[in-house]
């Protein structure tokens, strides 16, 4: 299921505790908001594997990922263009605001931030469903 944006957990649960303990730019709210939408979870899952990539490659990955969801379909260049625009204007800035990545809007480079172990563990748990 796709989580709704702007709908962070109302009640703090056991799993939130680690996030609250984070130092630096992270807050529970920003963290969950950043991971609320599927494309952003997918971006983070890919970055966990590669640490550093580009907006163009992320657009390719999200396009291909979509193509695997229905047999016999392909992602068109037009659809990839939409994905690129959303990445640039919405998803990558949100992830950058949460401190999870750095995004160079000019050259399109995307790097995963150094994450403390508790944050990393939280991230992995959130990404169980991508």
């Amino acid at each position: 299921m796709n989580k709704k944006e702007g709908d962070p957990p109302q009640q703090k649960t056991e799993r939130d505790r680690g996030v609250d303990e984070l130092a630096g730019p992270f807050t529970t709210r920003e963290f969950y908001r950043a991971l609320a939408e599927r494309p952003r979870r997918r971006v983070m899952a890919y970055l966990l594997e590669h640490q550093e990539t580009t907006r163009a490659e992320l657009a390719d990955v999200l396009s291909g990922w979509e193509a695997t969801e229905d047999e016999g379909t392909m992602t068109t260049p037009e659809r990839r263009e939409e994905i690129t625009v959303r990445l640039h204007h919405v998803h990558l800035p949100k992830l950058a605001d949460a401190g999870l990545i750095t995004y160079d809007q000019a050259d399109g480079r995307v790097c995963m931030s150094e994450l403390s172990e508790p944050v990393r563990q939280h991230l992995l748990r959130e990404l169980a469903e991508v």
Binding site: H50, V61, E71, P77, R80, L127
Partner: protein
């Protein structure tokens, strides 16, 4: 004589990026028989099954799951007339793949693609079908196929080959003696689709040490260009 067409397709090299959760998959082997650049990238372990993104001349042409790709790569490809159920995007990707140069195709695969073109001409029943046999004596084994084609259709049939055999008269069929052998190295067919250019198709291949290299295409302009070259052979 047909080498420039093979070279032109060779120059438009495509790039395939194969994404999988594990090691480099077998599909990269099947892509190796085509004139494409293949790269592999790792997907997260809990992510999607494999997929491939295809880039033509530097721009994104499409992305498909690996299962679908295997089907797309098997010659002969889906005929344009049977593509009504496909999305525009899928059709566009097939167009890209069709004009991909292939290498190391064997005789069986070339024969299947040739049959595909002959079949289409038979079903359409009109237009011009040109076919090269290297030497006319090779045509002897295909004579029954072409007699049938000529009898069942209004096709204008042109058969090319070195004059090492005198074929019998067949209705609506013209023989062209390739005296200097300029077409002899090639395995080729063209069909102009009659009055429907969307049915036009061409196969051009040349034998090299490790099999045939060549391409097939449904681009009517390319079919016309090859036909113009062929007209130089009387």
């Amino acid at each position: 004589m047909l080498d420039p067409y093979i070279e032109a397709v060779e120059d438009r090299r495509k790039r395939f990026v194969v994404y999988t959760p594990g090691d480099e998959p077998d599909v990269t082997d099947s892509l190796a028989t085509r004139n494409v650049t293949v790269e592999h990238r790792q997907l997260p372990p809990d992510g999607p099954p494999g997929f491939v993104t295809i880039h033509d001349d530097g721009s994104f042409a499409g992305a498909v799951g690996l299962d679908d790709l295997a089907e797309l790569l098997a010659p002969p490809v889906v005929r344009p007339g049977e593509r009504d159920g496909l999305t525009d995007g899928y059709r566009a990707l097939l167009d890209v793949l069709e004009e991909t140069l292939f290498s190391s195709l064997d005789r069986r695969q070339l024969l299947a693609t040739s049959r595909e073109i002959e079949d289409r001409a038979l079903r359409t029943g009109r237009g011009t079908l040109r076919v090269g046999f290297g030497s006319l004596s090779v045509f002897e084994s295909q004579l029954h196929v072409y007699r049938h084609l000529a009898a069942e259709t209004e096709l204008d049939i042109h058969v090319y080959g070195r004059p090492d055999w005198s074929p019998p008269d067949v209705q609506n069929t013209t023989y062209h003696e390739d005296r200097n052998g300029s077409l002899a190295p090639f395995w080729w067919l063209t069909y102009d689709g009659g009055d429907d250019p969307t049915l036009a198709c061409v196969l051009v291949a040349r034998e090299r040490e490790d099999g045939f290299v060549g391409f097939w295409s449904y681009d009517p302009h390319l079919v016309e260009a090859v036909n113009t070259t062929l007209r130089a052979v009387e």
